[in-house]
């Protein structure tokens, strides 16, 4: 908007301009056209920029399994239809705005048209038809996703504030120690490639405290791994289900998608999809109890873990390690804390291993020292651990392969 134009077309002079004699002007003036090119150029640049971007681990447009692939396939044509409507409507608004804009000195009172019933019926029916076309595959897929496959593997997903636990509830997934409970892991869900997995979602609260035996902080979460499946809420008192599968081994990212309190933004998880060979090895290992260390420092750590630290704090008030006296369920099960698949801990906030595969002592030290300093509101208490205690506990945890 150049100052000259503004003055000429300004409102204060408009009433007077209207009284002036009519002049004819038909074609789109060059400055309007120039502005249009600018807008189009910017749009093209935007599309270009979004096209050349790197790997995004939660990109719903980069599906790697079902139903994420089908969900994308359903959305893409809808987006194309929307793009078509967008071009027609916005283009229409733009063209009308340019074509019929008031021109200085050309005074006219346009024809006073009050409406047209046929047009009204037309633009009521046309969108209705488009929407009907969209709804047919939509409804059929709603029912398709609600169906439960016959021979899926069953896993119960447990939402805590703010981390995820996983229990493998099938008969062949019982552990080989104690009372032969289900394999239980935290933070990383491990599944075999090529197999349907049916998740049952349960909200379990979190923290060591209970009221009348019921864990506190039972809130709604939502379980979502964008490249594998859309989200389902984890609602206290209900059990929702997700069925998914993928043929592509790899690690997929996910996180809680329903606001669940202070650290909702850092309630993450990963899904490790293993090929048949690695899967068998993983299951075999997970069925074993926690390793009893031989290293002196790790032995000291095990002692602290099971019998309490110098401040009187008890790790086993919340944590479990299979095959030991530790069997609490309020916090992540640590039986195989240092298994290679357990890539991340504390709501997948921290990497368990450094890129070279060595233990990530720095992150675990910070976490053990003062959980609230690195994750405000974390339910893990600060037990005033001394540096030697932290070293011993870390040696023990990293011995739990």
């Amino acid at each position: 908007m150049t100052p000259g134009r503004r003055k000429a077309g300004g409102t204060l002079t408009r009433t007077r301009a209207r009284a002036g004699d009519a002049a004819s002007a038909a074609e789109v003036p060059s400055d309007v056209r120039k502005r249009l090119w600018w807008v189009l150029g910017l749009l093209a640049l935007t599309v270009l920029l979004s096209a050349c971007s790197g790997y995004k681990p939660q990109n719903t447009f980069d599906p790697a399994g079902q139903p994420a692939q089908e969900q994308k396939n359903l959305l893409v044509p809808v987006l194309w239809i929307a793009a078509g409507v967008f071009v027609i409507v916005e283009g229409g608004i733009l063209l009308i705005s340019i074509r019929y804009r008031h021109r200085k000195g050309r005074e006219r009172i346009p024809k006073q048209i009050h409406g047209n019933t046929r047009l009204e019926i037309g633009w009521t029916i046309a969108p209705a038809l488009i929407l009907a076309v969209i709804m047919v595959p939509t409804v059929s897929m709603i029912w398709q996703l609600a169906a439960v496959p016959a021979n899926a593997m069953h896993v119960t997903v447990q939402g805590y504030q703010w981390w995820w636990g996983f229990q493998y509830t099938d008969e062949d997934m019982r552990t080989a120690f104690g009372d032969h409970g289900p394999i239980t892991v935290a933070d990383v869900l491990v599944v075999p490639a090529g197999r349907e997995v049916e998740l049952s979602l349960a909200s379990e609260g979190g923290g060591a405290h209970t009221t009348d035996g019921i864990p506190d902080h039972m809130v709604i979460h939502s379980f979502w791994a964008p490249r594998l499946f859309g989200k389902q809420d984890v609602v206290p008192g209900r059990t929702n289900h997700i069925t998914f599968s993928t043929d592509q081994p790899g690690v997929y990212w996910g996180q809680c998608a329903e606001f669940c309190g202070l650290q909702h933004g850092r309630m993450r998880f990963r899904i490790a999809v293993l090929d048949a060979q690695r899967w068998d090895a993983w299951v075999k290992n997970e069925k074993l109890p926690g390793v009893t260390p031989t290293d002196t420092l790790a032995k000291e750590g095990m002692n602290l873990f099971l019998n309490g630290v110098s401040s009187g704090g008890q790790c086993i008030a919340c944590h479990a390690v299979g095959g030991t006296a530790a069997s609490a369920t309020a916090a992540p099960n640590l039986t195989h804390f240092a298994a290679r698949t357990h890539e991340c801990f504390a709501g997948c906030d921290f990497e368990t291993f450094l890129p070279d595969g060595s233990p990530n002592y720095a992150a675990l030290t910070a976490w053990l020292q003062d959980p609230n300093a690195v994750k405000l509101g974390a339910k893990m208490p600060d037990y005033d651990l001394t540096p030697p205690e932290i070293d011993a506990l870390m040696a023990y945890l990293y011995s739990l392969t």
Partner: protein, 621 residues
């Protein structure tokens, strides 16, 4: 009505205040125009506050792993941003327009219940201040504007108790206002102003008041249950004691979705007024625009489960509500096509109100299209609770509603204050706004599809979301600059105070422009008699022998204003009881949080105020 004779009493404690000008008159005014201005100024102030909260949000999210605010602060800020923009800005700003304009547009001297009107305003203000006092009393609400239980009912900070009580208070304001305006529209139209001669803005106002009247009771129930769960340990939403968290979701969204239309329909009304005036054509398909607005109001009560697809209600519910969500797009589309047809063939004057209206329609179209994708339930499992939804509803509520409100402010500013806002600064402000708006919310579509969830206070760099977040944050600051330009424009126009050359600066079509700018306290010297839709336009223009439209010479019309009789028009006197009664409500609310003694005090204030209200004389004389 104002001229009704009421037994009067002189003097005594119940004597009514008389001042209609000066600082203190603002506290006792019951003039719908002054109350409208109070609503507007207050709402705009909250807009600034909510905007600053948005800037903190965007600064925090500009880059991955930022620590500008921590999780606790962020959760309070995003919750208060939502509450402020919805309950303390868009709703009361719409109320400002309704209050000021509806009586003028239907040819009335005031609303049906002027003191109740003042009460609504003061209660709204008290509700807003009560909510904001939470920052100093242990923490602001931190469970999101949607306040999902049991997170909201078990959170240890007092924030969500402020939420429940604060929204109950503002709900009282909205309920009283809704009844008042609905009665005004139904009963107080000028002679000849049949329902189908009402401006579309008034129609949308009527629909909104009905939406409020029917949806607010639902949220009131939910808020009381939340309050009881939090404060007195009931178990409405606690599944371990027989409650159900999904109950909250049903109650909240059965209110929450009509609420969306409560926020957007006023803007639709404004578009429907501004587009014809600046196209110099009547609104295309008036009846269709009106009926589609009514249809939206009805269907708006039948789509709430599309907020809950992922909650696990099952395929039957998801199918039904997917279809209803698709259906509501139809009447919305009808409106857009009619607005386009209104512009088609017109003589379009792109003054700032028109820019904001055309821009608003264009932006709303984008929000409408992304809304249609929400009816595609299986793919919505991917988009729900991501930034895609944040993008969607900001295109609807910012691109639609806020652009509409700005259009309305530029359009009616001369009506309300007697001088225009600057056109140059106005256009600059519009272009800054629309560019900043698209930079902020456009990229959020992409962010959501790339897996960025809502309400997270930070995100790791590994997600690859940094670039678009940076763009969005830059855009947010552009919006802030635009709002700053608006404030400069308003101040500059006030300082210059160039009087209008005419009381009809836009060559408008509706009754509010037949009176002076600003209007006298009694609005009209004589109550206008209405013969047609767009009455004022038809007084100015008539067809000549060849069927062409020509301007009727001033004074030639039959409806030329009668001689001034303003001094003889009797208007109700100011009253301070609405303010006193309103003060009782936050007192009750603080009492519910802290002590039964304070509850007693609040109850006493309310009882005394309503007694005084009932017994005070009808006039000051």
């Amino acid at each position: 009505m104002a001229t009704a004779t009421v037994p009067t009493r002189r003097g005594g404690i119940l004597r009514r205040p008389t001042a209609t000008t000066g600082f203190w008159s603002w506290f006792t005014t019951i003039d719908h125009k002054k109350i409208g201005i109070l609503y507007g100024v207050t709402a705009f102030t909250f807009f600034i506050v909510g905007g600053l909260e948005a800037l903190i949000i965007r600064a925090q999210l500009a880059r991955p792993d930022q620590t500008l605010v921590n999780a606790a602060q962020y959760n309070q800020i995003f919750t208060m941003h939502g509450l402020t923009m919805i309950f303390l800005f868009v709703m009361p700003m719409s109320a400002a327009f309704f209050n000021y304009l509806i009586p003028l547009m239907i040819g009335a001297r005031d609303v049906a219940f002027p003191r109740l009107n003042a009460f609504s305003y003061w209660v709204f203000l008290m509700g807003g201040l009560f909510l904001y006092s939470s920052w100093f009393l242990g923490g602001a609400p931190n469970g999101g504007w949607f306040g999902y239980a049991p997170n909201s009912t078990t959170d240890p900070t007092p924030g969500m108790t402020f939420y429940a009580l604060g929204l109950l208070i503002t709900g009282i304001a909205s309920s009283a206002g809704a009844i008042n305006l609905a009665v005004t529209i139904v009963n107080m139209r000028a002679p000849g102003m049949t329902l189908f001669r009402m401006p579309v803005f008034v129609w949308m106002g009527l629909v909104v008041q009905f939406l409020l009247a029917f949806s607010l009771p639902i949220i009131t129930v939910a808020l009381f249950e939340m309050l009881f769960d939090r404060r007195w340990d009931t178990a409405f939403f606690d599944p371990t004691r027989g409650g159900d968290p999904i109950l909250w979701q049903h109650l909240f969204w059965l209110f929450g979705h009509p609420e969306v239309y409560i926020l957007i329909l006023p803007a639709f009304g404004i578009f429907s007024e501004v587009l014809p005036v600046f196209s110099r054509k009547p609104l295309f398909g008036y009846q269709f625009v009106v009926f589609s607005g009514i249809a939206i109001g009805f269907i708006g009560f039948g789509v709430w489960v599309h907020h809950m697809y992922a909650a696990g209600l099952g395929p039957v519910a998801n199918t039904a509500f997917g279809i209803s969500t698709a259906i509501i797009a139809i009447p919305t589309g009808v409106k857009i096509f009619n607005w386009m047809a209104t512009m088609q063939g017109g003589d379009l004057h792109f003054d700032t109100p028109m820019l904001y209206s055309v821009g608003g329609v264009a932006m709303f179209v984008i929000g409408g299209l992304s809304g249609v994708t929400h009816s595609v339930v299986p793919s919505d499992y991917q988009q729900t609770d991501t930034y895609y939804v944040v993008a969607h509803f900001h295109y609807v509520l910012f691109g639609g509603a806020v652009f509409g409100l700005f259009a309305g402010m530029y359009y009616w500013w001369p009506k309300v204050f007697g001088f225009r806002l600057g056109e140059g600064l106005g256009k600059l402000q519009f272009w800054l706004m629309i560019i900043g708006f698209n930079l902020t919310f456009g990229p959020m579509h992409i962010l959501g599809l790339e897996g960025m969830i809502r309400r997270e206070y930070t995100y790791p760099a590994a997600l690859g979301l940094a670039f678009w977040n940076e763009v969005a944050s830059a855009g947010a600051f552009l919006i802030a600059i635009s709002v700053l330009v608006f404030i400069i424009n308003a101040v500059r126009a006030r300082v210059r105070h160039r009087p209008l050359e005419t009381d009809d600066p836009w060559d408008a079509r509706t009754l509010e422009w037949t009176t002076s700018c600003p209007p006298p306290a009694y609005n009209f010297e004589t109550i206008p008699v209405v013969h047609t839709l767009d009455e004022f336009w038809h007084r100015k223009y008539a067809e000549d022998k060849e069927g062409r439209l020509v301007r009727v010479p001033a004074g030639a019309s039959d409806d030329a204003p009668a001689p001034a009789v303003g001094h003889a028009i009797h208007m109700p006197s100011p009253s301070f009881w609405p303010l006193v009664a309103a003060l009782g409500l936050p007192t009750l609310a603080y009492g519910a949080m802290y002590s039964w003694w304070i509850v007693g005090l609040g109850a006493l204030i309310v009882v005394v105020a309503f007694t005084g209200w009932a017994l005070e004389p009808g006039t000051a004389e």
